[in-house]
Amino acid sequence: GLKTLHLGSCVITTNLHGIRSGFSEIRDSVQAKDEIIDIRILRKTQSLQGTKPADRCCLLHHILRLYLDRVFKNYQPPDHHIFRKVSRLANSLLTIKKDLRLCHAHMSCPCGEEAAEKYSQILSHFEELPPQAAVVKALGELDILLQWLEEA
C-alpha cells in the first residue's frame, strides 16, 4: 500500500512498497559492482530521520535531485532487465520529487541550515569518488534511502 511521509509540514504519499520491491530485484547485482566498500555516500550522520522535521522536505528534495540529475542519468545498466528496473525506479523518485516541489510551491518545504549542511556533506562524499564509481555506489545505496523514508 501507500505510505504517508511526514516531512515537517509537507505530507505526501508514496508507493514505497513498490519502489522497495523494484529495487530488491536488482540490489545484489548493482551492489556487487560497487567495489569501494570503505566509503558510504548516505551516512547515518546525514540521515533523514536524524534531521529536524522542518528540514526533511528540503533535504530529501536535494537528494532526489542528485539521484535524478546525476545518478540515473549517468548510470550504464549492464542489461535490458536492469535498464527497465532502473527506469521504473527513476520514475518513482521523480513522482516523489514532483510532490515535494508542490510543497515547495506552498511554502511547506523550507531549506534551513541543517538541510543545507547535510546535503553538502552527502554531495562531497559523492564527488570524492570517481564519477562512474559514485553513480554505481549511489544506486546501490538506494536501500539506505528507502530505509530513511521508511523511518521518516
Binding site: S21, S24, R27, Q31, I37, I39, R40, Q147, E150
Partner: protein
C-alpha cells in the same frame, strides 16, 4: 608471473540468515585442499577496518556465527574468508553487502493446535530472535516488524478451505464437523518487506460430539 589459480580453495562465501541468526558459510574442495584452514573477518559498510572474528581464525569447519557482530538491524556489513592450505596457497573471498533486516529468512512459527468438538483453536507462540533491546530484553519478530501478521488456512476438503489472518496470536476456526480430520497451515507474513515464512503444518481431528441428540 602467472597468478596461481586458487579458486578451488574457496567458493560461495555468503551469509545464511534466519530469524536474525546470521551464519557465514563457504565451500572449499576438500579433495584438493584437505588441510585447508579458514580465517574470518567482517566490517561495517563504509568503514575502512576489517575486524577479525574471534573464534573463527584458522578453523577447519566451513561456517562461522556472526550474529552478534552483524546484529545492528539498520547497518550494512561485509564479511570475508581467507583459506590457506598446507602448501601455503591462499585465497580470499568477500560476501555481498549484507543487512539482516533485508536478508533474514523467517522461520515457520511455533503453534499449538487445539481441537474441540466443532472448532479448532490455534495459538501462535512468539518467535524470539537473538536481537536484544537496549534494556537487554530479547526481541521477538513482532517487536522488530511492525507490519507482521499471521496467515492461517484450514483445509476442509479437496475444494473447500477456510482462511484467517491477523496480528493477534490466538485464532479459532469454528463451525466444523465433529470427529473429522483437518489440515491446518500457519505462516508468518511481513508484507512491506516481501517476507513470508514456510508454513507450520498441523494435522488435527475434531473431538467426537458426545452430547445426547
Amino acid at each position: 608471473h602467472i597468478a596461481e589459480d586458487t579458486s578451488d580453495l574457496l567458493q560461495h562465501v555468503k551469509f545464511q540468515s534466519s530469524n536474525f541468526e546470521n551464519i557465514l558459510t563457504w565451500d572449499g574442495r576438500p579433495e584438493s585442499a584437505p588441510d585447508a584452514v579458514y580465517s574470518v573477518q567482517y566490517k561495517t559498510y563504509g568503514e575502512g577496518e576489517w575486524l577479525e572474528k574471534e573464534g573463527c581464525q584458522r578453523i577447519t569447519r566451513k561456517s562461522c556465527n556472526l550474529t552478534v557482530e552483524t546484529g545492528n538491524l539498520t547497518e550494512l556489513y561485509y564479511a570475508r574468508v581467507t583459506a590457506t592450505d598446507g602448501t601455503g596457497r591462499s585465497a580470499t573471498k568477500t560476501t555481498d553487502r549484507f543487512n539482516s533486516l533485508q536478508h533474514t529468512i523467517i522461520k515457520p512459527p511455533d503453534v499449538t493446535c487445539i481441537p474441540k468438538v466443532r472448532s479448532i483453536q490455534m495459538i501462535v507462540h512468539p518467535s524470539y530472535t537473538p536481537i536484544r533491546a537496549r534494556n537487554g530484553h530479547q526481541l521477538t519478530l513482532e517487536n522488530i516488524f511492525q507490519g507482521l501478521l499471521y496467515r492461517l488456512k484450514l483445509r476442509i476438503n479437496h475444494t473447500y478451505q477456510m482462511d484467517l489472518e491477523g496480528k493477534q496470536r490466538e485464532f479459532e476456526f469454528v463451525g466444523l464437523t465433529p470427529d473429522t480430520e483437518f489440515l491446518g497451515t500457519i505462516m508468518i507474513c511481513i508484507p512491506n518487506l516481501f517476507k513470508e515464512s514456510a508454513p507450520y503444518v498441523c494435522q488435527v481431528k475434531t473431538l467426537p460430539d458426545r452430547t445426547w441428540t
